[in-house]
């Protein structure tokens, strides 16, 4: 009798989710297509623009456009995977004054609130943790959903010294700009 009721509730849950009914715990999970997705950054060094991206990161995305307030987004970025195409930058970034990967190799972004601001426009408020420091950030993004595929593009500018990045050698931005634009593109399919 007891076994039977457990069986029934599990089946009904499976049925419900396979039929597309969203449950309270599961807003809508998405699987990131790493090949089409990217997290990149840029800035100025001695007046010249540099561009780079993180080649290793992962994201857990639970997001239903109909209920953005219930979204759960957590991104983990391997700071050691930052590549700029310039060996000098790539060897400097992991060092103690910059990303300090010996202390904390992963950067984490956790969305605390996602707000709809237009038909395809949203703003994700969240905490970005780097070098052991959590700083609130706002990531405005657009979202296009076609069938089972969602394409999200977002852009925000962060101040590197908020996390103490490069504060030892260049706290004022005499060499490396304090403003670092970050671009995020995520292509994901509904799980």
């Amino acid at each position: 009798m007891r076994n039977r009721s457990v069986f029934l509730s599990v089946t009904s849950l499976l049925l419900a989710s396979s039929m597309g009914f969203a449950t309270a715990a599961d807003a809508r999970p998405w699987a990131v297509d790493a090949k089409q997705s990217s997290i990149s950054f840029s800035g100025q060094h001695v007046g010249k623009t540099f561009k780079g991206s993180f080649t290793i990161w992962q994201a857990n995305i639970d997001f239903d456009p109909a209920r953005p307030e219930a979204a759960k987004v957590a991104v983990s970025i391997d700071l050691a995977s930052a590549k700029t195409g310039d060996a000098m930058y790539d060897k400097t970034l992991p060092s103690a004054d910059w990303f300090d990967i010996a202390k904390a190799r992963q950067a984490k972004f956790v969305a605390t609130k996602i707000t709809k601001t237009g038909s395809n426009d949203y703003v994700a408020d969240g905490q970005l943790t780097l070098r052991g420091k959590s700083v609130p950030v706002k990531l405005p993004f657009t979202l296009d959903i076609a069938g089972n595929t969602a394409t999200m593009t977002g852009r925000m500018t962060v101040k590197r010294t908020a996390w103490g990045i490069g504060s030892g050698s260049d706290a004022k931005g005499d060499w490396v700009s304090l403003d670092i634009p970050v671009q995020v593109k995520v292509v994901a399919t509904a799980k």
Binding site: G47, K48, M88, K91, T92, S95, A96, D97, S169, W175
Partner: protein, 188 residues
């Protein structure tokens, strides 16, 4: 033996060209890196300066080792003793500068607060002296090495004038073969 060996001649002129380029770049880039208009170029020049300076260090070590087995040709008998002494002193002062300049530069990049790696012409990483990088007094060492590097730069310019002046005097006034020892096709 009335002239330097071909290897010594080639090393001399390679180092001579490098040193002149290093001095010009060195005197320019210190201010240029602080000027927003020339900063980007000066940064590149800094990287070239480091690569070229380390090349001079290697070439100078090779040159000194070569010299052990291939002594310098004798100076003309007609030269007064004090002139011979001055010529030898200038030459050895040059060797000291050719070693201490790049070594102090190596100390500077090893203790720089920027922590930029030294990429030899962008091809491979020249290691830093990590004992200095991690030293508690890295900043003081950095300042002292910069002083030495700058003072020796002026010393090098002074020696260069003495050295070139002496060579030209021998060639055009004394009309001997001293310059031809290093430039064999000038041999009379």
């Amino acid at each position: 033996m009335s002239r330097y060996s071909t290897v010594a001649v080639i090393l001399h002129w390679l180092i001579a060209l490098a040193v002149i380029a290093l001095l010009i770049a060195g005197f320019w880039m210190g201010d240029a890196i602080r000027n927003p208009e020339t900063q980007a170029l000066a940064f590149e020049v800094f990287q070239l300066h480091k690569s070229l300076g380390l090349t001079v260090l290697v070439l100078t070590v090779v040159r000194l080792l070569w010299r052990l087995g291939h002594p310098a040709p004798a100076l003309p008998d007609a030269m007064p003793g004090w002139q011979k002494t001055a010529a030898h002193a200038t030459a050895w002062a040059f060797y000291v500068i050719l070693l201490v300049m790049p070594l102090s530069g190596w100390v500077i990049v090893s203790t720089s607060p920027f922590g930029l790696p030294t990429m030899w012409f962008g091809l491979f990483e020249w290691p830093h002296i990590t004992q200095l990088t991690n030293a508690a007094s890295a900043l003081q060492i950095n300042g002292a090495a910069e002083e030495v590097h700058e003072l020796l730069a002026f010393g090098a310019v002074g020696l260069l004038f003495l050295h070139v002046g002496g060579a030209l005097k021998h060639h055009f006034i004394d009309r001997d073969d001293v310059l031809a020892r290093m430039l064999p096709w000038l041999s009379r």
